[in-house]
């Protein structure tokens, strides 16, 4: 065991040795270590290079506040995590860690040239310098800045781990299991309320873990802690979550918890999720998030070996690690004395205690003096030395005159600083609670709550173990009472050295008017007091602007250790009070949170539900290639052995035109509209006249919204007087249904109409082509399907293969066609039967691509392809469908606006390229005259474009300004290779008279 490790004490198991590597060097720690404590036990202080200046950095803290010690932890080739705080990584056997932001090595880093250049790299440097010449930004500045910037490297492969998500409800959620949180949880749990208690650390206890000397109710703190945890564990109404960070406070008391399940294990079981997201809805929340010690701002305050006094105490008392041999204590707060006493007792030489304040009279200072430690008050630090580890500090003495007298240089390997404690109000602030500035302690504390929450203990500025326990118990009791559970108050007796957390804001005094260089405020973003002074000099006044200009508080630690110091420095510069400077917003997450838990189970196959039609497997067996249409898998085309898509589509189209094809139309939206007022409702809803639609007949319906623009279309059949079968586009089914519900529930609640989505109740096979009747005639019974008995646009009930069927005679191809509707679970059987029956006629399954070509040859629009939410029925040539005599329907008032029929609107037309083999690009723009300079005058765009096999040339549909008046004109489609001349035609390319429909 190294000499840094104490022989006894701490909460580690010295008998369980763990091996790990840091930058390739094998080291040993023990069970219970963090990576940070294990490194320190090996005397390793240098763990990283700073973000901007590449300065050597060590540990500032011992917990989640750590800004410097960001490392990459590598578990295996597929699992590495950058930017994790070494202070929060639990050591396990075989852990591999690497330092970051250095090249070629941590001890010799080329990027450190930035430190020498630092006078040239002040705040705002990037904004000012790289503005000119503009062209250099993309080619030169940005790539180089990007290469030099950033912390860590993201892993390159897909994340092999799984992440769990769950919801939970509780009466009282207690966040933080320090003394306040434990007291709150135990008091609330005793009332019978359902209590959840979470803490980000591996062990419950918070500050108690650093304070083994304290006695609570006559017991040493460790024993008391054990008792409380055992009591909580035994209660069925209590849920305990260790290693669980409350990272976000969302409206209505929804708290996001990030539970790290396997991160600390050497060999996690493969069935365990790596992390788990808890979304907890709590009736009442108790925030017991503690307080974080502030560093002091003085020149060279960032060298390895300079750390928070509380951190040194944590390393010693919790992990049995001495952080050095000879320490200088810099006190702006009495907490420094507690650290000095503990370190002295562990055999560390206290070389000096410098208190910047005029006097040091607290009980801890008195104990320090009694222990023989000398304290010099009115003392500041003028500078430090030491390249990879602090070697000395230079003291300065504050004179009554206000000037500073240089003092001695004190040799040391450790500097411990304490600037006072900042309440951790991040979650409180996220909950939109208003903060209040406490002018005694110079910090912000919770003021007026916005949610049903309360803060307890140090996070609301309460000092001292007894007061914290008492407040925790009181808040736990009050939270439980607010949920209807009554209990009795708890009292504690405490014996401990109580230190005040009140410190000093801002920087240590320095001689001269200009702020010193390299007095760091924000360690992670390398922001100095000089940068802040520059920002105020440059005229920034808003704290939000200063933050963005200097980047202070914008690093991954969100200014945990820097925020109050920055405010103090800025306030002093302006000669104003801190509250008048304001405070930047605290945002979630409290600590960096993996994308894994946010994605949770929604990955790969589970990312989005997949909808397959009943006949999917039959189509797949026929070789179908599928495309995604919304969540549906639709057969796109059915290639034979060596066919490409073009060849397959050409064959499929010709089969439908010349013989017979079959198409799975099951994805079409289907809504059954039922009730005595069904026809009235549809009359108001669709543009068409439904009152005169006879039972057994169908009609092509067009739906507008009240803004007059085409929203959806589909065939609607009247099944009975009071029953309609409405079809919608595949993509529009849900929104049409929602719109129907909206009008029925809120505008026309008097109508007796009920609507039901039947999309998934019916399987639909479209059998299309001149031989379609021959095919279905072999299977259909109970219906006369002759042309006279069942003309175009009719519907009838019958049977197919003995199965109940609704048969439509409809066509989206322009050919004689039927659509066979059967209950969905018969879909595959009927598809297979139709395929077998059609073999003798050469039946050809066709996919969505052929369907698109066939309908385009006929000029049938697709809503969302020809229309874009700004097309009226007239624009797309559908005025004929409108029921002219109806007093009202959705969109009627809007399409009567003059602007809706004014000249200059885009209208649907056909385009034929002069070269029949040239196919236009969908989305291409159209111009009236060739060879236009940029910007061209655009008069429309191509909406659909295909090669038509039956016509032997390409066809296109387009929306062109005043298009119908331009029929016969030549227009141009500008492409990179030149303008393509096109002739404007009517949008129907094939069988314009429609005779083929009558088969």
């Amino acid at each position: 065991m190294s000499q840094c490790r104490t022989e006894t004490g701490g909460r580690i198991d010295r008998s369980r040795k763990l091996s790990f590597t840091f930058d390739g060097v094998q080291l040993y720690g023990v069970q219970g270590d963090t990576l940070a404590s294990a490194l320190l036990a090996n005397g390793v202080h240098l763990v990283g290079r700073s973000f901007k200046y590449h300065r050597p950095r060590g540990f500032l803290g011992a917990g989640t506040e750590e800004p410097n010690a960001l490392v990459r932890v590598i578990r295996d080739s597929a699992r590495s995590t950058p930017n994790v705080r070494a202070t929060s990584v639990e050591l396990y056997d075989g852990l591999i860690a690497e330092s970051q932001n250095r090249w070629p090595s941590l001890k010799f880093d080329v990027g450190a040239i930035n430190d020498a250049l630092s006078p040239l790299l002040p705040a705002g440097f990037y904004y000012k310098t790289f503005m000119w010449p503009r062209s250099a930004w993309h080619k030169l500045y940005e790539p180089n800045i990007r290469a030099a910037a950033g912390l860590g490297r993201a892993p390159e492969g897909a994340d092999p781990d799984s992440y769990a998500q769950r919801f939970a409800h509780c009466d009282v959620l207690v966040i933080g299991a320090g003394p306040a949180g434990l007291a709150a949880a135990q008091t609330a749990a005793r009332t019978g309320a359902h209590v959840m208690l979470c803490d980000e650390q591996a062990e419950f206890g918070g500050s108690l873990l650093d304070d083994p000397e304290a006695l609570i109710d006559g017991q040493p703190s460790a024993q008391w802690l054990q008792g409380v945890i055992a009591d909580l564990k035994a209660r069925p109404n209590v849920t305990l979550l260790q290693r669980t960070t409350a990272f976000g406070y969302f409206p209505h008391n929804l708290i996001g918890l990030n539970e790290r399940v396997t991160e600390h294990l050497s060999a996690p079981h493969q069935n365990l999720p790596r992390e788990r997201l808890w979304q907890v809805r709590a009736t009442e929340v108790v925030l017991a998030t503690g307080a974080i010690e502030r560093p002091l701002v003085f020149p060279g305050n960032d060298r390895p070996g300079i750390m928070l006094a509380s951190a040194a105490r944590t390393y010693l008392n919790r992990y049995g690690v001495r952080v050095g041999k000879r320490a200088v204590i810099v006190a702006g707060c009495d907490a420094a004395y507690a650290a000095a006493l503990d370190l002295k007792a562990a055999g560390i030489t206290i070389a000096a205690i410098c208190d910047v304040r005029p006097s040091a009279d607290g009980p801890a200072a008195a104990r320090a003096r009694a222990a023989g430690l000398a304290i010099t008050t009115n003392t500041t630090i003028l500078g430090t030395r030491g390249r990879l580890r602090v070697q000395s500090v230079r003291l300065g003495h504050l004179e009554i005159s206000g000037s500073i007298r240089p003092g001695v240089t004190v040799a040391c390997d450790t500097v411990l600083m304490s600037g006072g404690y900042t309440p951790t109000v991040h979650l409180y602030s996220q909950s939109r609670g208003k903060l209040r500035f406490d002018s005694t302690s110079h910090v912000f504390v919770p003021g007026t709550s916005a949610e049903r929450e309360r803060s307890a203990g140090a996070c609301k500025g309460i000092d001292g173990l007894h007061a914290v326990l008492a407040d925790g118990a009181a808040q736990g009791l009050s939270a439980a009472a607010a949920t209807g559970f009554a209990g009795s108050p708890r009292h504690y007796t405490v014996v401990a050295t109580e230190t005040s957390g009140i410190g000093i804001p801002g920087a240590l005094p320095q001689p001269g008017k200009t702020p010193p260089a390299k007095a760091f405020v924000d360690f992670q973003n390398d922001v100095t007091s000089k940068d802040l002074a520059l920002a105020t000099r440059e005229g920034f006044e808003s704290i939000e602007h200063i933050k963005r200009f200097t980047t202070t508080g914008m690093a991954t630690d969100q200014g945990r250790t820097s925020g109050m110091n920055a405010l103090g420095i800025i306030a002093k510069d302006f000669g104003r009070e801190i509250p008048s400077i304001g405070l930047t917003t605290f945002r979630m997450p409290y600590t960096p949170t993996s994308f894994g838990i946010l994605a949770g189970y929604a990955r790969g196959d589970l990312f989005d539900p997949v909808r397959r039609t009943a006949a999917h497997d039959s189509a797949a067996a026929l070789g179908a290639v599928f495309e995604d249409v919304g969540m549906w898998k639709r057969a796109w085309y059915f290639p034979k052995s060596s066919e490409d898509m073009h060849a397959a589509v050409e064959r499929e189209c010709l089969a439908v035109r010349n013989g017979v094809g079959m198409f799975d139309a099951s994805t079409l939206g289907k809504i059954e509209v039922v009730g005595p007022d069904a026809a009235t409702f549809l009359n108001r809803f669709y543009v068409n006249n439904w009152a005169n639609l006879a039972v057994g007949r169908t009609r092509y319906g067009i739906l507008l919204r009240d803004d007059g623009f085409v929203y959806d279309d589909g065939v609607i059949a009247r099944i009975a007087d009071d029953r309609f079968h409405v079809t919608t586009t595949t993509g529009g089914a849900a929104r049409v249904f929602a719109l129907m519900e909206d009008y029925l529930q809120t505008e026309w609640p008097d109508l007796k109409v009920w609507i039901t989505s039947t999309t998934e109740q019916w399987s639909v096979v479209a059998v299309q082509g001149p031989r379609s009747r021959d095919v279905i005639a072999k299977l259909v019974t109970d219906i006369d399907i002759s042309h006279n008995a069942m003309p175009h646009m009719s519907v009838a009930n019958g049977r197919i293969c003995g199965i109940p069927m609704m048969l439509f005679r409809v066509s989206f191809t322009g050919e004689l066609g039927f659509e066979v509707n059967v209950p969905a679970h018969y879909g595959k059987a009927v598809w297979d039967a139709l395929y077998e029956a059609g073999r003798e006629f050469g039946i050809t399954p066709y996919g969505t691509e052929a369907m698109h070509v066939l309908r385009a040859e006929k000029g049938y629009i697709i809503v969302g392809q020809e229309t874009d939410g700004t097309a009226t029925p007239d624009d797309v040539g559908l005025t004929w469908a409108i029921g002219k005599t109806k007093p009202d329907f959705l969109g009627k008032r809007a399409i009567a606006r003059p602007a809706m029929t004014a000249t200059g609107r885009k209208q649907l037309v056909g385009l034929l390229t002069l070269d029949p083999q040239v196919q236009l690009e969908e989305g291409a723009q159209v111009i009236a005259t060739p060879k236009q300079p940029v910007p061209m005058t655009l008069i429309g765009h191509v909406t659909s474009s295909y090669m038509s096999s039956v016509l032997g040339h390409s066809i296109a549909l387009a929306m062109i300004k005043d298009g119908r008046a331009r029929i016969g004109e030549t227009l141009y489609v500008p492409m990179p290779d030149g303008d393509i001349p096109v002739k404007v035609t009517a949008p129907v390319f094939y069988d314009a008279e429609g005779v083929r429909l009558n088969g």
Partner: protein, 97 residues
Amino acid sequence: MLVIQCPFCGPRPELEFAHGGEAHIARPSDPASVTIEEWGAFLYLRKNTRGVHAERWRHVRGCGRFFNALRDTTTDQFIATYKAGEAPPASATGGAV
């Protein structure tokens, strides 16, 4: 994620609901009789209230019903929810709606 009190089902998490825009905008009963400006206002003009706002929600992944709510847009707190067609509870609005 808000908790929303469906008047038919009780409190449910926001992810069961769809927002439906401002409430109490009635479609003119005789659209032909309104001016273009009035029709445009019906279609497009909304209050964008800072404070107590009457808005529509649909319990789309629940009972499917539309209903109205009074929500303070500055705090996200609901003051009341009530059925479509009902007037907002007067005591809750302070006459703001």
